[in-house]
Symmetry: C2
Subunit: 351 residues, 2 copies
């Protein structure tokens, strides 16, 4: 039996051995770093969206599936402080449905449809273009399984010596997070749970687009990679460590601590909770910190800076708030103060 | 409905638009070409093995699944005349089986098993190492589907101006192929079809490893990427066009012709048929040309050279035979002389 996704990755890392030139950084960060030209390194990353695991067609428009598949890879490039260059797109398409032998639900949602697949591609291309990242190739395969898989492999570049890694956090560093953690997982809860959606069924009309809950859904459906922030941090040499918040704040902070050989103490009262999340939670009697600490797929940046550089971060221009939430410690544990015991385990694909 | 894999790819290519710097070559060849450093270009490719489509656990050892997943990507690098640098490995793992709720067959074949997955990883790492290509990262995801997916994304490099493309074939060029086409598809037929295997059931004992049919099976299970040949052709400027034979000889030649705006005439009598394939076909009353012209997954190189350079190709050192099988023509069609009408359509994932 497989104990966990991360245990499996650790074992694979041991099997792969230490990175050798031209690979400057192998398994264990958001991207691989490859040293192929003077002054610049190459970033290489891959991430996929699996139907039934990462998305359901009932609430995910095809164009947003493509958009998000590219956005989550762009977010990996952002977390290294790089600029995206090009991506390959792989579509693994269920054969059963394509043969028209799928069940009614499948036919109703248009699984059969070339238009559906091409809308995914359009979303992927549009999201890449917005950040100067071209679709440069890919692969199409069938599967005997039920679910569509949209896989992206992306190349980026970064100035040599300026790459943001997970491994540089030191005791005393300030821990910062961009945006409002928990938005995406709260949006997913809204999309999945009819009990949560009944209180704002008005949302289904176009006029309700400004309802706070729609910002939660949008955070899940159309995440915004923090490329400009990542490059600012990298080029100014501000962040001692950085990761994108894809697995949940506590778990992602655990990755930084694990790679850096340190711990962290987070003040729950400092976690920035959006008005929309606060409202959802007051209506549904949930604790917003459950979403903010344990919920994944926010694709913000979680990073550390020295005490000395902290004021510089405050002066950075950013379209989203950047909030100091705690400190790096020597303890090798992630401790959260100011809240009760929470389910903050984050997402593990093999649990 | 989706008409075909290749029609879908063509539509995606139109959507993506013309490649812009630094992408020198986008959709439509074996790798994307990215121009990021003086004197050298980057190659980027991706290919996956899907359980039930590309492999079945009944006949595929885990280590060979990993090996082949990397080999087919190395073959794309070979087809561009490049050297491989690093790869990312994605495992999409069936969740149902992992939870121990799979059926008996699944449990018997050890689907549950971390060891099984790690053997795949070991095979992938070993195959990469053999050719100087490191595992540098990747991704693990679950799926609600039945089948395991092993996806690889690979980066390579090539001298600028020396990249082998599909698009340079000109009328009068000689068409050449490495190795013995049809070996892999004949091996697959042996692995799949008990009627074909009964005549050599001796093979199941270790002492029969030298039986001709075992070379057919090995061609399917453990393809050898033609990296040295690809680099020789590229660095000597010999090939006017090149592709790896993954979809079947006729179909792959069709790709060269399509990209080059030419046609080809192949002499069926010149297609090199191995002794093993000839023997299998005489025993099973099949036509070896069906395998050699229509069978995919050989991962040899199919390339064109000018009449003038043809003698130089003959002097190349190669561990496998290189055979002239026809000529490029102006007709825009692939014509095969010297054989009856054959099913030579090759493999299309969406047909």
């Amino acid at each position: 039996m497989i104990s966990s996704e991360f245990a499996l990755v650790e074992t694979i890392r041991r099997l792969a051995g230490k990175a050798r030139a031209p690979v400057a950084l192998g398994i264990g960060d958001d991207c691989a770093v490859i040293d192929v030209r003077p002054g610049e390194v190459l970033l290489h990353t891959t991430d996929c969206l699996v139907e039934g695991v990462h998305f359901r067609r009932e609430y995910f428009a095809a164009i947003d599936i493509g958009l998000k598949a590219v956005a989550v890879n762009l977010s990996d490039i952002a977390a290294m402080g790089g600029r995206p260059v090009a991506f390959l797109l792989t579509l693994v398409i269920p054969g059963r449905a394509r043969d028209g032998r799928g069940n009614d639900t499948i036919q109703e949602t248009g699984r059969d449809d070339e238009r559906y697949l091409l809308d995914i591609v359009r979303g992927a291309i549009a999201c890449g273009r917005k950040f100067g990242c071209q679709l440069a190739g890919g692969n199409v395969s069938s599967t005997r399984g039920d679910g569509l898989i949209v896989d992206v492999s992306m190349i980026g570049a970064a100035k040599k010596g300026c790459v943001l890694r997970r491994s540089g956090a030191r005791p005393g560093d300030v821990v910062l997070v961009s945006g409002h953690p928990g938005q995406s997982s709260a949006g997913l809860a809204l999309l999945n749970d009819s009990r949560l959606t009944t209180h704002d069924s008005r949302l289904r009309t176009a006029s309700s687009i400004q309802h706070p809950a729609s910002s939660l859904r949008a955070a899940h459906l159309r995440p915004q990679p923090m490329l400009a922030l990542g490059r600012s941090l990298a080029e100014r040499g501000l962040a001692t460590a950085c990761i994108d918040t894809s697995d949940g704040l506590v778990q992602d902070l655990g990755h930084i601590c694990g790679e850096s050989g340190v711990g962290a103490e987070i003040d729950a009262a400092k976690i920035p909770i959006s008005r929309a999340l606060r409202r959802l939670c007051s209506e549904s009697r949930k604790d917003p910190l459950e979403f903010a600490l344990g919920g994944g797929e926010d694709y913000g940046l979680l990073f550390t800076v020295t005490e000395k550089d902290f004021p510089k971060v405050r002066r950075l221009k950013s379209p989203v708030p950047i909030t100091s939430i705690g400190r790096i410690t020597r303890s090798r544990k992630v401790r959260i103060t100011g809240c009760d015991d929470l389910r903050t385990s984050g997402f593990d694909h093999l649990k």
